[in-house]
């Protein structure tokens, strides 16, 4: 990292690169215009009023923020009145302790605008107009998009003029020539196609603010111009790295310094690797350079996932994991193409779209130029609670687990139906908003002459995110084991214990915690319950779609908010030994020491849990490993193989936690919560909480000492 970038990084980290917003008084003459035209006009006026922001360290320009006075970017939903109204009712405000909306991510097709320029989009608009000769609404929308293009180009020229002015006043020859080049770049992009890597980066930098979310697959859509620049000798890897780093600085700094999410990385998440359209490994020298560029800058955003697949060389996985272990900002995660792309293909997504998927937000799959609909967080335990309480007379009659499960499945499907209803209502309410800015960059909005908020995006996905799947699977395991198979208690006794929140039934609870068969141990019993549950979810999803016609998928994820805790707070005791009010588990894995058979069993149980692919939505799998495994070279090599095997077996996602000294100290204070935490003492591992205190302290000391 050179000094210029170091200064920019410092400015981004201290919040200095967040330009002030200038409020605009719209003249009101436009009130009678159709929405798209009024919005485009006001956005144009707003942009024109903003200062052209750059410092003497910038070679790329365009940083700006919208202020909510008019419908602007889609992801932060700036100025979207109906959406914001819906969110005020629904965001962080679960209905029936069952579901709530949290976010919606999307991705502009930056690759396309780099390739064809806004002039290419304008051609598409002209063509689309032919399709709707008598539809005034659609013609108005297309006119709004076209007006928006003019507004954006005007803004780019404003920057060009500002760079030229700065150049005229600049005494330093090298900076003067850089400023003149910057001015030229702004005249070329985004209006026209980018002709070289630097113009492509300027285009990406400039357009990011129109949809400030994922940057998609930059190692793919920038590769051609990168290779061309290197081959011609007009670009060096060092210069490419500088440009990439300057882009990352802007992405980091775009999130307002000091705001609630400023410390989190999911504001922008992109991918490297994956497949090419001809089914080869897509990892290339630019992927490597992007990773290297990211690692050098001490920023929290953007974060990155490797798209692993069967064509990914082991050396690439190793390189990613090596960066992961060294990245104190924890920006790197891993996803597996194989189950996800298979599920897309089975649901009718063509390979030409599926191969090009990306990750956005925390861990949502989306397509380039597409939107990830849903963002609904779900309390999946509620259907079990409903089974116990609403169907009590029927379940007390059950003589075998299968009849109990059939009743449970009805309740599950009923809850899933309710969740879909809420999501549809929410999306309909929001479809009253019109967006002409982000829609420009979303595939399908021009062709369909429809705002992305109104179902314009062709490459959309719908998903709901479960919290408590593992509590649910474990609870089903206990019902089957304790009530129906081993007959350790009757259904009456179990229900009485749950009603009493285990008061007076502590013996039963302890017996469950000690003798229960829980998910995550790769035994036939719990594996089969998990597979039954996810198959039931799939049964619901099959043949159904959301209101815009997208197939349904699900996942195990929590976002920025702790819905797993708020749902849990209102959820009664569950058969897995959970007490009333305790948080639900999140993610696909096990916790609380119930995964007593070790890391390999845990990973295989998760990799094999869903035979249907219905869970290929927004999903995380957290894997905790102790720091010594990650640091010791021989152990690390084996960790790489462990993870590769997990992916080969179908695991969808993985992010690593190396146990920190802080965690170890917390484990000392509260050993019950850390029963499965293993540490490597020297040539072998031991359960940390079972070591005597002095040895625990030694492990902690070594953990700290080796950082």
């Amino acid at each position: 990292m050179n000094e210029r970038i170091a200064r920019l990084v410092k400015a981004a980290r201290s919040g200095e690169i967040f330009p002030e917003r200038v409020a605009v008084e719209y003249d009101g003459f436009d009130l009678k215009l159709a929405d798209p035209l009024r919005i485009a006009k006001r956005l144009t006026e707003y942009m024109a009023a903003q200062p052209c922001y750059f410092t003497e360290d910038n070679e790329l320009v365009g940083m700006m923020h919208f202020d909510g006075s008019v419908e602007a970017e889609l992801f932060p939903r700036t100025g979207h009145r109906f959406w914001n109204e819906a969110c005020s009712q629904y965001y962080r405000n679960p209905r029936e302790n069952l579901c709530t909306f949290e976010w919606q991510h999307s991705n502009a097709d930056f690759g396309k605008v780099i390739r064809v320029g806004l002039e290419g989009l304008r051609k598409e608009i002209v063509e689309a107009r032919e399709n709707f000769p008598a539809d005034l609404d659609k013609l108005n929308f297309l006119a709004g998009l076209e007006a928006m293009i003019r507004g954006i180009i005007r803004r780019a020229r404003q920057y060009a003029a500002a760079c030229r002015k700065e150049a005229a006043e600049c005494k330093e020859l090298q900076r003067k020539s850089t400023l003149l080049r910057m001015a030229e770049n702004c005249m070329q992009v985004p209006e026209h196609p980018a002709r070289n890597f630097e113009e492509a980066l300027q285009c990406l930098y400039f357009c990011f603010i129109f949809q400030p979310d994922s940057i998609g697959r930059p190692d793919q859509y920038l590769y051609e111009l990168y290779r061309q620049g290197i081959a011609e000798g007009s670009l060096t890897p060092e210069h490419a790295k500088e440009l990439l780093q300057e882009l990352f600085v802007m992405i980091h700094g775009w999130t307002r310094f000091g705001c609630a999410n400023a410390d989190r990385g999911a504001e922008s998440h992109f991918v490297v690797g994956g497949y090419t359209i001809d089914r080869k490994c897509a990892w290339n020298e630019l992927s490597e350079l992007i990773l290297e560029s990211l690692m050098e800058v001490d920023l929290i955003r953007p974060q990155l996932s490797l798209r692993w697949n069967k064509a990914t060389p082991r050396t690439v996985l190793e390189k990613l994991l090596d960066c992961e272990r060294k990245d104190k900002n924890k920006r790197i995660a891993l996803v597996n193409d194989e189950p996800r792309i298979n599920a897309m293909l089975e649901n009718g997504v063509p390979w030409e779209t599926a191969y090009d998927y990306i990750m956005v937000g925390c861990n949502e799959p989306a397509f380039q130029g597409g939107i990830s609909l849903g963002g609904n967080t779900v309390n999946i335990v509620r259907c079990l609670v409903n089974t116990f309480n609403g169907r009590r007379a029927e379940i007390l009659e059950c003589r075998e687990f299968e009849s109990f499960y059939a009743i449970f499945e009805e309740e599950l499907h009923s809850d899933l139906e309710t969740i879909l209803d809420y999501s549809n209502r929410f999306n309909m309410l929001r479809s009253r908003d019109c967006n002409v800015l982000s829609s420009l960059f979303m595939e399908g909005c021009i062709e369909r002459a429809a705002s992305v908020t109104q179902g314009g995006a062709k490459r959309a996905r719908w998903c709901a995110n479960f919290m408590g799947s593992t509590n649910l699977i474990d609870s089903l395991c206990i019902v089957r084991q304790f009530v129906f198979e081993e007959k350790r208690c009757t259904m009456e006794q179990l229900l009485a214990a749950l009603d009493a929140d285990w008061q007076g039934y502590e013996d039963l609870r302890q017996e469950i915690l000690k003798q229960g068969k829980f998910f995550g141990n790769n035994d036939l019993f719990s594996n089969s319950i998990a597979r039954s549950f996810y198959t039931s979810v799939h049964k619901f999803a099959q043949g159904r779609s959301d209101i815009f016609g997208h197939y349904l998928c699900f996942g195990n994820l929590t976002g920025y908010n702790d819905h797993f805790a708020s749902y849990g707070a209102l959820t009664q005791a569950t058969p897995d030994g959970r007490v009333a009010g305790a948080p639900l588990l999140f993610g696909s894995g096990q916790a609380d020491g119930k995964d007593s058979d070790g890391i390999t069993s845990h990973l295989l149980a998760v990799a094999h849990m869903d035979p249907t692919g219905v869970m290929c939505g927004n999903t995380i799998m957290n894997l905790s490993v102790d720091e010594n495994t990650v640091r010791n070279e021989e152990s690390f090599q084996k960790l790489v193989l462990l993870i590769e095997t997990y992916f080969r077996e179908g695991g969808l996602h993985l992010q690593l936690n190396h146990v920190s000294a802080e965690d170890l100290k917390a484990a000392q204070k509260d050993p019950d919560k850390y029963k499965s935490l293993r540490v490597r003492v020297s040539g072998f591992s031991a359960t940390f909480v079972d070591l005597k205190e002095s040895l625990q302290n030694n492990v902690i000391a070594r953990t700290v000492g080796e950082v």
Binding site: D597, E649, S685
Partner: protein, 301 residues
């Protein structure tokens, strides 16, 4: 169908330092040696044992209520556990809410062990790993060990045996065809061997020579305790053996750590061995001495 059964005290998955690749280590309970520094003291006895961690006891008295031989007495904030009376039935452990009581040692058949081991077969295949038999002393469970190794081979697994070498040569010989790698302990110089481990070095050395002569792959494993067995004479002995014998792949030095001290307390032992951690400087010194006398690779694990 395999008929042998023995007492297993742990099956450790994702073991990383007991042979190549990702491995599962099967720990058998019972060992003929009594090494002063033993880090698995619960592995010594051939019987099941109850581990009691007083600091985790919640004084709930559930153990006392269910115990058939009245081993547990709780009162005045103290839990007394009478080991003499304990029948190792393990009933109390299923009622203990704080995991203060744990039963160490479970009788398992070869088939039961293999069922657990083959679950990780995909990991062995990717990483070139397999199964490692450890203990305790696997050679002291010879019928079980022989059947388990054959079962592992029938499943095409890489096999390793971690042994102290103190067993009749016939027992070792019997396993030659089914063992891919021997992790063979060298613990002390002959003069101090009985004092530190409870047995003489002669048989161990003799077996090692025969094993090397048979063409088996061997890694020498050397637990080193500062001030106890890390004198130069022992380090030279290790280097000399590695240099003279055929088929020594590697020397592994295992620096002392006091894990056994915490375990010993859980077992109610008062003869707990104390020593200090091996310092980085100690470890470097050991490695330097050995490496300057033999070209066989030497690693600290």
């Amino acid at each position: 169908m395999n008929s042998a059964r023995t007492l297993i005290f742990d099956i450790e998955k994702f073991a990383l330092h007991d042979g190549p690749g990702i491995r599962t280590v099967v720990f058998m309970k019972g060992c003929p040696l009594r090494c002063l520094w033993c880090h698995n003291p619960e592995s010594q006895s051939f019987k099941a044992e109850l581990l009691f961690n007083g600091s985790r006891c919640r004084m709930c008295s559930k153990c006392a209520a269910v115990c058939k031989s009245a081993c547990h007495a709780i009162g005045e904030g103290k839990h007394s556990f009478d080991r003499e009376k304990c029948l190792q039935c393990g009933l109390c452990t299923t009622y203990c809410p704080g995991d203060a009581l744990k039963l160490c040692g479970r009788e398992m058949s070869v088939d039961e062990v293999m069922e657990e081991v083959v679950k990780d077969k995909v990991f062995y295949e990717t990483s070139g790993g397999g199964i490692t038999l450890s203990g305790g002393e696997p050679l002291a469970h010879i019928n079980f060990t022989a059947e388990l190794l054959q079962a592992a081979k029938a499943n095409l697994l890489h096999t390793a045996v971690e042994t102290c070498g103190f067993a009749p040569w016939e027992h070792i010989e019997q396993l030659l065809g089914s063992t891919d790698l021997w992790l063979y302990d060298i613990k002390a110089v002959p003069e101090k061997h009985r004092e530190l481990t409870g047995v003489s070095f002669d048989l161990i050395l003799d077996n090692l020579k025969k094993l090397a002569g048979s063409g088996a792959n061997i890694v020498l494993r050397c637990p080193l305790v500062p001030g106890i067995n890390d004198e130069e004479a022992h380090l030279l002995q290790i280097a000399r053996l590695a240099g003279q014998l055929k088929n020594i792949q590697e020397i592994n030095l295992e620096p002392y750590h006091p894990l056994g001290e915490s375990k010993g307390e859980l077992m109610g032992r008062c003869d707990i061995f104390h020593a200090s951690f091996a310092s980085e400087a100690d470890q470097e010194r050991w490695k330097k001495i050995i490496s300057s006398h033999t070209a066989i690779p030497c690693r600290i694990i």
